[in-house]
């Protein structure tokens, strides 16, 4: 991005060096300065943490991260090697995947089934149920934690210890998967139903005439046509679950065998104390996956947001 990349403006016809021309040029420079200035201001917090994470602790404690640029020889990766050997980050990274993958697959798939029915099947109270789902989008999740947790612990005996003791792989995360599925479904159904409904009805009629069953229509026609909507939903839900702290904290807690990266990082903050050098590298470690997903699939992510998100 260079200043030379000037934007076309409407009034660009004034003669060279006339007062009008000068004013236009000036305005254009101011625009670029403001745009670049704001962007730089936005990047500084992240940049500061990144630079801090490659400085030794002694330097971090006594001088600001910006001094690194005048003395770049202090570069070190020890913060990264230390945090990876000391904390359970490897395990937490694995746990985050174990949580995020099913917690994405479940609401997207089940949501797609439901959205298909809401868009192309008739059943009693269809619109009323759909409206209720939209209403549930805004309900604070906090409202649901206590009864679910009580039910999990008292009726199902689904505590992390009990579930781990069964030795069945993946079982300790089942409570969390189901919870994320329940919380993610209203948004998932809302987004997909809007997309499915916009598909041309001729498609369904001709498929029916050809004798295609519901399953064939769903898997061979609806799914392939909806790849963009499903992709944006998958990214949205994956990032949401990956970055979630509250739901994980409530349903699986901080036990290192099951806790995801966010919980691990929050625990590190509490145990090491804010300002510890290891936190900088740990924070960056936790950002790797979301940043890769985001940078490679940004287009779909933005599309998902534009599809009318009121999720939180």
């Amino acid at each position: 991005m260079t200043i030379a990349a000037a934007a076309p403006t409407a009034a660009n016809t004034a003669a060279r060096f006339s007062p009008r021309w000068l004013a236009d040029q000036l305005q254009r420079y101011i625009l670029h300065i403001v745009v670049i200035g704001l962007t730089v201001a936005w990047v500084v917090p992240t940049l500061g943490l990144l630079v801090s994470s490659i400085r030794p602790f002694s330097a971090q404690a006594t001088s600001g991260w910006w001094t690194f640029f005048s003395n770049p020889t202090t570069f070190t990766l020890s913060n990264y090697t230390d945090v990876l050997s000391q904390s359970n980050l490897g395990q937490a990274f694995f746990n985050s995947f174990m949580i995020a993958v099913p917690a994405t697959v479940l609401p997207v798939t089940i949501g797609a089934f439901a959205a298909y029915a809401f868009s192309w099947m008739r059943f009693p109270a269809r619109n009323a149920i759909f409206l209720a789902l939209v209403g549930l989008l805004a309900v604070p999740l906090q409202l649901t934690f206590i009864p679910i947790l009580t039910f999990y612990v008292q009726n199902l005996h689904w505590t992390t210890d009990n579930l781990t003791a069964t030795g069945i792989p993946g079982l300790p995360w089942v409570p969390l998967w189901l919870a994320h599925a329940g919380y993610g479904l209203p948004f998932s159904i809302y987004l997909l139903a809007n997309f499915f409904r916009a598909l041309p009805s001729d498609l369904f009629e001709s498929a029916e005439i050809d004798g295609a069953g519901t399953l064939t229509v769903f898997f061979r026609i609806v799914m392939p046509l909806s790849v963009p909507a499903i992709a944006s939903l998958v990214i949205f839900q994956f990032l949401w679950v990956w970055n979630d702290l509250l739901v994980a904290l409530i349903y699986v807690g901080g036990a290192p065998e099951v806790a995801p990266l966010t919980v691990n990082l929050a625990n590190l903050t509490n145990s090491l104390g804010q300002g510890s050098n290891l936190l900088t590298s740990a924070a960056f470690f936790s950002m790797i996956v979301p940043l890769i997903v985001f940078l490679s699939l940004q287009r779909y992510f933005v599309r998902g947001i534009l599809a009318g998100s009121v999720k939180g």
Binding site: M1, A7, L31, V35, T39, V44, P45, Q60, G64, W65, G90, Q91, F94, V105, L106, T109, I110, F113, A114, M121, F123, I129, L131, V134, G135, A138, V139, P140, Q142, L143, T144, F145, I146, I148, P169, G170, L178, G182, L185, P186, I189, L215, L245, L246, T262, L265, A266, T269, G275, A283, S286, M287, L291, F294, Q298, F301, I305, L306, V310, G312
Partner: protein, 339 residues
């Protein structure tokens, strides 16, 4: 890092990557197989419930029923005995600094107003400014990037921004370096400072809100930018040809046309503001009068195991959200009516 963990957990990996989709596929294929064996006239009655069934079950189990139980719980003590409005009285007595009042004030005044306002103003300004430069996509990505990182990481990033060293020492936090160098002011303890007055601590709440705003502005910007691109170019040209300055064009043409989108983004932000949790949890743990309702509920539940108290705080949160909820539903209906 201990990579052996990845080898030990291969069964888990298989369960997750093969098992979960397999169960879902088996459900729908098996269900359809059964539906097809039904008599012709029953099929259309049964089939929709096969498809919406799991979704309705999960939503009922995880959102609807728990919400109803929480309402009931807020009138009970831990043993399940009816205590009337006692829980609410505990939370709402002692105005203005006791019970939940600080959390209510922070949520309903500070967060709701400043978080929504800052985000909308920044989002709108960035959308309009970026629309005029050719490198729009690059700068937009950079503003949007904080959306991809977790609020825990966001909290850490801002902890470093707000770091405090006593006056006279070299400041390590960016904000205090700016304050001491350019304003020649003593360094500020951003997250603890009670300015302007104890009990009306705007500054440290704004510090938290600023961090959250930084994270969410990209969201507002992207939606507002899409709405801006939807305004026909001829309309703006016509106004400029008529001699309207850029500010007038913005105020009289762009803003009115973008108002519906601003309202949608605004209501979404209001809901986010009322549900604020992560930033507070990571940065102050609700200390120094920065408590918010979601955090207070969490604390009552986990630190004090006060089920009734936690439920009543959740209900207070719900009551704050309901007007926005109704507004959203009306908007949704209006949009549906236009389809």
């Amino acid at each position: 890092m201990d990579f052996s963990v990845l080898l030990q957990d291969i069964p888990t990996l298989l369960v997750v990557i093969i098992g979960v989709p397999a169960i879902l596929a088996a459900y729908i294929i098996g269900g359809e197989y059964l539906v097809r064996r039904l008599p012709d006239k029953n099929r259309p009655q049964v089939r929709p419930w096969l498809w919406v069934g799991p979704a309705l079950f999960l939503v009922a189990a995880y959102l609807l029923l728990p919400a109803i139980f929480t309402i009931k719980q807020s009138f009970e003590n831990n043993a399940g005995d009816w205590v009337g409005f006692n829980n609410f009285a505990n939370q709402l007595g002692d105005f203005p600094n006791g019970g939940a009042w600080i959390a209510i004030r922070n949520n309903v005044i500070f967060w709701l107003i400043f978080y929504t306002l800052f985000t909308l103003v920044f989002g709108l300004a960035l959308a309009v400014l970026f629309d005029r430069v050719r490198y729009e996509q690059v700068v937009k990505s950079l503003i949007f990037m904080p959306m991809a990182i977790s609020s825990v990481a966001l909290g850490l990033i801002w902890d470093f921004m707000y770091q405090y060293q006593p006056p006279g020492q070299a400041q390590t936090g960016t904000m205090n370096a700016l304050v001491t160098t350019f304003l020649h002011h003593d360094p500020v303890t951003w997250l603890q400072d009670q300015w302007p007055a104890e009990g009306f601590n705007v500054l440290n709440n704004l510090a938290l809100i600023g961090a959250a705003t930084w994270g969410i502005t990209g969201f507002a910007m992207v939606i507002l930018s899409a709405a801006l691109k939807g305004i026909p170019g001829e309309l703006l040209e016509a106004a400029r040809v008529d001699g309207a300055g850029e500010l007038t064009v913005f105020r009289r043409v762009i803003l009115p046309l973008m108002m519906p989108t601003v309202v949608v983004v605004g209501t979404t932000l209001v809901i986010f503001a009322l549900k604020a949790f992560d930033v507070v949890y990571v940065m102050t743990s609700g200390g120094y009068n920065t408590d918010v309702l979601a955090f207070r509920m969490y604390k009552l539940l986990y630190s004090s195991y006060n089920l009734g108290g936690a439920s009543s705080v959740a209900i207070i949160l719900l009551i704050a959200v309901v007007p926005v909820l109704i507004f959203n539903l009306r908007q949704f209906r209006a949009v549906e009516a236009r389809r």
